[in-house]
Symmetry: C2
């Protein structure tokens, strides 16, 4: 199901540079990372980087694009698999996929959560659109379940924000060597989410 997040990036130097940049940005931030470091981690000289990416900012943008498309695909796959089984199972699938994705791809997720402000204005606008789409997916499911009387939610916007926030923040504290797998985290968070929505059977 989850095909490689970097499938659209040409293998070889472009991809090695991109993944090296993800590691570096996740560790010390965009401004804390030098192009020299990225190039060295990808096994080449500083100058060679600019054959594949116009600027350091372009590198960040390419990461942001790939990452947001990956998370959108994961959410849509989850909804498609859930089908029309009712609102609770659909939200459960959404939160399970969303939280699990942020654990599995915690480094890439951390980059785009922490370094959005470093995007250049035109790049930022493109990314902001993708993010609105993600938030709308969650909010619309909650609104539909509340309208159907399946959820007990007084503040749909605020609760949707809280659910997204909770799942996204997984990428900031998750450690691969920790006690829980991404699937276990997804299951726990889906459970908590349904309780937050007042289904009573979370």
């Amino acid at each position: 199901m989850t095909e490689d997040m970097w499938a659209a990036v040409p293998p070889g130097s472009p991809r090695r540079l991109l993944t090296a940049a993800v590691d570096a940005f996740a560790g010390v931030g965009y401004h804390g990372t030098s192009t020299r470091h990225i190039a060295a981690a990808a096994g080449m000289s500083a100058g060679a980087l600019y054959v594949h990416y116009r600027t350091k900012a372009d590198l960040l943008f390419q990461i942001a694009l790939a990452v947001h498309e990956s998370v959108l695909a994961a959410l849509r796959d989850a909804l498609a698999a859930a089908g029309g089984e009712g609102h609770a199972p659909r939200v459960r699938a959404l939160v399970y996929a969303f939280a699990g994705w942020h654990a599995r791809h915690h480094l890439a997720a951390r980059v785009i959560q922490n370094e959005l402000g470093a995007l250049e204005p035109e790049h930022a606008e493109r990314i902001a659109g993708l993010r609105r789409t993600v938030r709308a997916l969650l909010r619309d499911e909650i609104r539909a379940g509340a309208a159907a009387g399946e959820f007990d939610v007084a503040d749909v916007e605020g609760t949707a924000r809280a659910l997204a926030s909770l799942a996204i923040d997984v990428c900031r504290w998750y450690r691969p060597e920790g006690p829980r797998t991404p699937e276990e985290i997804g299951a726990l968070y889906a459970h908590l989410a349904l309780r937050m929505l007042g289904t009573g059977n979370g």
Copy 2:
């Protein structure tokens, strides 16, 4: 109740530099901020900064200290006010205070959440201790309520982590011009927290 977070910082230049640094770090990150910019925002030349702070890293450390002591004080005040009314009201008070604090002080909170990695090792250890104390406060309350049968929690550690994560992340999306006050966010999050704990009366 919430006395000024910077009460321990001498007024005048030291405090102006500190608050200017908070604004700058929150906006473009620690590595994205120059000492020249901080000094200018505080109304002085670049060199004058070093009369009050040894290094840029020291500035970040002083911010981290003040901020963590402020949040600890807020949590302890909340617990003291809640008294022994039962576990649910105590957790409610804790989450209300924690989430509200992260809205009210979202800029300072963002700095210490995003830039912890920029602390120097010895500074980081000191701050890590304060953070453990905060997490323990929350976790112990949840554990006590679960042990008393007042909460229905299968995974105490994971749920405590989720609660803290949810409240902390407020500082990343909160905007003063948004539709909710810090108090409203605190109330919503306390409500959601009790539902997550399975009290049934959240």
